[in-house]
Symmetry: C2
Subunit: 206 residues, 2 copies
């Protein structure tokens, strides 16, 4: 499996911290990208690059918390680690509740940050792994035609009425035609039973 390159994104309005962190992380072999504000980061981020976001909590303009909330809405492969000079308990509570993996008060020891970054990378690797599997499965379903998908939907919605007769009645077509579609569906999804199709589809859609 090709290992995806993970990046540490550093977003902090404090120039000294940015350069210190960047240099230190690069020296340790990390791919680093730093920005002086949330807006600048967002401009260069496409929603697909993966890694850790080391994020200052209190910045002029869009705050770290706002950026985190915005990213959470995009469901992107980033683990957020807050670093803050003045944040307190309520701020940290909200950040963690919103999904940050940690909230460090400046000054912090680099060793702690490095450890958190590694933890974040692990998390993201796992997330990407899961995501990849889901995409593979979704790709199979995408090959179905509209009618075929409709039939899968009927079966998923109501697994107690999956006979050709019942589905045919629901869709107003001949049971024989349902047989036909079902055969295509099993073939396209590379599965051997309707039960398997339903199990997979449910797993995907929740």
């Amino acid at each position: 499996m090709t290992e995806i390159e993970l990046t540490v994104f550093v977003v902090d309005d404090d120039h000294d911290i940015r350069t210190a962190l960047s240099r230190s992380l690069r020296k340790r072999g990390y791919q680093v990208e730093s920005h002086d504000c949330a807006e600048s980061f967002l401009q260069g981020y496409d929603g697909r690059r993966a890694g850790c976001l080391v994020l200052d909590y209190g910045m002029p303009g869009m705050t770290g918390l706002e950026l985190q909330a915005h990213l959470a809405g995009m469901d992107c492969p980033l683990a957020v680690i807050f670093i803050t000079g003045h944040g307190g308990v309520p701020e940290s509570v909200q950040a963690i509740k919103q999904g940050a993996i940690d909230f460090l008060e400046k000054p912090f020891r680099q060793a702690v940050l490095l450890e958190r970054i590694e933890a974040g990378f692990d998390l993201i690797r796992q997330k990407l792994q899961t995501c990849r599997k889901e995409r593979q499965a979704a790709a199979l379903f995408d090959r179905l035609t509209a009618r075929e998908r409709e039939i899968v939907d009927r079966m998923v919605e109501n697994p107690s009425a999956i006979s050709s007769k019942e589905i045919g009645a629901r869709l107003g077509i001949s049971p024989r035609t349902v047989d036909h579609h079902r055969a295509r569906i099993l073939e396209k999804l590379q599965m051997k039973s309707v039960a398997e199709v339903i199990a997979h589809a449910r797993h995907q859609r929740g």
Copy 2:
């Protein structure tokens, strides 16, 4: 549906806070139970009573964090709200990561605590609801005999090989006997298709 009585458990070594909170909460109609230490709470808690645990973070003996961790291991219907005099950011981060719904610094406004207690109650009501449904479904599966459960397991594990012949071969019994068991299974689970059984079983076990 009978509404389950939710309790606010107050655990704090500070006598004044205990009495003030208890009185205030009781006045508002809450069922309150207070303890001066984690051990005392645990002695009286059976793992089933539901509600909110308003928990002091720093107590002599077992700390609030330790109590929370212990309760988390029991998967009990309690929403934990920390209150603390001296805790800081790292403590609050750990508490939230462990599943606390909030972390309030003393002194806090009662209105805030009340709001959080209500949020906790909502959460717990939802959890109980989900739990009830799961138990109902599990109760159906419990009526299966060992052999029947084994057959369900085979079908769940490998939904692409659910024909009587295949399962019979795996279990070393006649396909005809598998037919028999399957019929019993569908009858006992009140379902109409193998696909339905698999979908439900998967949903239950993850």
